[in-house]
Symmetry: C2
Subunit: 458 residues, 2 copies
Amino acid sequence: VAPSAATPSAARDLARIVGAEHVIERPGREWLTDTSAARGLVGRADAVVLPGSAEQVAEVLAWCYAHGQAVVPRGGGTGYAGGAVPIDGGIVVALGRLREVRELEPSAWRMCVEAGLSTADVHRRARESGLLFAPDPGAAEQSQIGGNVATNAGGPHSFKYGVTGDWVTGLQVAVAPGELIEIGGPIRKDAAGYDLRGLFVGSEGTLGIITAVWLTLVPAPETTLPVLAFYPSVATGCAALRAVFEHGVGAAALEFFDAGTLRAAGATLPGGVPEGAGFALLAEADGAEPEARRIHGELREALGPGSLALQDGAPGALWRWRDTVSGAVTTVQGGKLSEDIVVPVDRIAEAIDGTLEIGRRHGLQACSWGHAGDGNLHSTFLLSPGDLEQLALAELAAEELFDLAIALGGSVSGEHGIGWVKGGALSRQWPPGAVRLHEAIKSSFDPAGLLNPGKKQA
Amino acid sequence: VAPSAATPSAARDLARIVGAEHVIERPGREWLTDTSAARGLVGRADAVVLPGSAEQVAEVLAWCYAHGQAVVPRGGGTGYAGGAVPIDGGIVVALGRLREVRELEPSAWRMCVEAGLSTADVHRRARESGLLFAPDPGAAEQSQIGGNVATNAGGPHSFKYGVTGDWVTGLQVAVAPGELIEIGGPIRKDAAGYDLRGLFVGSEGTLGIITAVWLTLVPAPETTLPVLAFYPSVATGCAALRAVFEHGVGAAALEFFDAGTLRAAGATLPGGVPEGAGFALLAEADGAEPEARRIHGELREALGPGSLALQDGAPGALWRWRDTVSGAVTTVQGGKLSEDIVVPVDRIAEAIDGTLEIGRRHGLQACSWGHAGDGNLHSTFLLSPGDLEQLALAELAAEELFDLAIALGGSVSGEHGIGWVKGGALSRQWPPGAVRLHEAIKSSFDPAGLLNPGKKQA
């Protein structure tokens, strides 16, 4: 990809808005990729600008709208779907300088933060006040809260606590053709207008640029008690998962790891992987000490039958290991293509087995792990970097994976969104009438089609 | 209002779709009003049809779209904002015959029900499986789940459990010009398309007609333990409310009742109202027995300082009393105008005092009660039925109430929606850019403007 650059007059105009030191005229690869770089996606941009305020974001958007320039909003660049990659030029608007905590009101369980604050900082600021911001997607130190909201990020604890959007009570957004609006705010309910808040959540920068968010918080649980359960097979493990539901256990998280994942990541698992294990569930109880102990006991009871071993463990060490799983799977061959399909929770065994079956058909090593309680799988095909033939097979395999998710009554994405890499997948999942409404919303919000072009296309 | 009737050919066409016995050609008042009848709102309709299937709903919508006829969807008719009232003729589509439970899967914590099932029946069916559908708006026996979703109904337990939309994972909707679509389904996460699901939730029948909903459920709490706390004043009561937040107590519900409300409804309160009480909080702890006891203890600790009395009580009796409060307030003068403003929870004392102050300015008796933990007030002005001058004053007072909510950083509606009676209020709350997007969504979804005309207008 040839580097491109803003015209001198464009750079001058943008510098006038954000300051010359915050315009990058020949952006390097770090601005042109996200995690989808593993599958070869590298974009090109005419410039990167780093606004210093929400008002500057709106001004940049106004300039782009006036000059017919594409605008690609960018958070931490940790997405898997190419949503933050500038595909075909235009101006990358990076939110990283907007890091202010505008309000933190512990006695009302809420905060208002700017879009560029890291998700880890949001967690920390809440914790310091005895409160919890529960959504916990991976890469929390790198990802930014605005990006989390724009993709409606999930995570292990979504099982109990819901996804990012469930915690957003208000938004400040720069919308076309260049106006800053606020919807909702420091309020816990709102039945007045259409749910514009919900519409911007998960819109992947295609409807507007989120500049600040109002978040609701809850008291932090006193204790978290994980339990790790090993099974000989997918079938026995998924039967145990079903038992957790049947026993009505209020777990905080319910993660799974299949045999291939355990082979890739098991060596560093605290306590190790017992002989013969082909499947594992990582469940967690949380709450006040006695309540967490009670739920932990119920989890052990539900997860016990059919298991090879039940291990308690230190939550810190286990979740730190959990964070290494994706990287460990990458290490096996040096690369991977990892998706994020969702199925009804009672169909998850079929999705796990189906992932392997699809891999086999294409001669690809496959595995899956993810958020079992939410029926949300990171179905993965291993790749050797630079092997374009294998990559093409993996892309085909991913298409079959989407068909499988849809056939099981699920969705092509539970976490990563459509971005660029899943463009067109929604039309297979939604009826034509729904796709038409999806497109009508895009046209209404972005009539010139300049907001993150090519992304989240049905 | 003069009765109106469908033309003979219209009635014939509609009868061909739903059966002649399900077309009401000269509908009586029971089809032309909702709870807003107390302020004089009675509509007129050309016909009422009662489809027997979702497909028939779509066919009726198609017929109306082809013939330029307005369509007014109707659930249980328990709304406060005139949302289900046919203002100026057209076809009322009543969903009451769609009552099937399409799926109930306790071992996956979910159900799929048709729009006309009563909310109480949804609760009962979940409970019979040991599960909880938590949203608990008033009038659960009369209201229908489709109407609850279309207004995003709340209720006392929204404090812990969120509003109706938080429980909806999928929708079947008849959309213009007459197509049945499904979005989401039996899945707990979905990051694929724009959040159409959330957009239909709370859209008050102006974007489509909801015919069925997928609901997620949670294990039912074993025990609920209420505590009722009385205070001499709004200030002392709201200080106790703040203490619940500051202590980080995970209450399930946090309701308030001001002095006027206690005067109106206190006589039937189990345990009575202590001498000198000018404010009360009704809090509830729930969960497994020991956890509910622990939270109950924390509630008593947080609510104690400044209180005149703390009473435990049987949850059944207390919540049955809670259901009578609105009616008891009506009884004082025979009528009332009751709104549902929301404010940041730390501004609630100002909203409660402000309600009284606005009433005083207009010579109206006023009171408020509601969902203190969510900052959601039922601010109410008492009326003598038939006193049109008083009604006009109350309408003015309501406008001032909306201004107060907005000035405090809140919303004109937390539960009832905009409907007909609050038309125009959104433009005072939202910036022009947001109002423009609100209107663009309506035009995209309903280009001919036939879906519940005049409702939810900004």
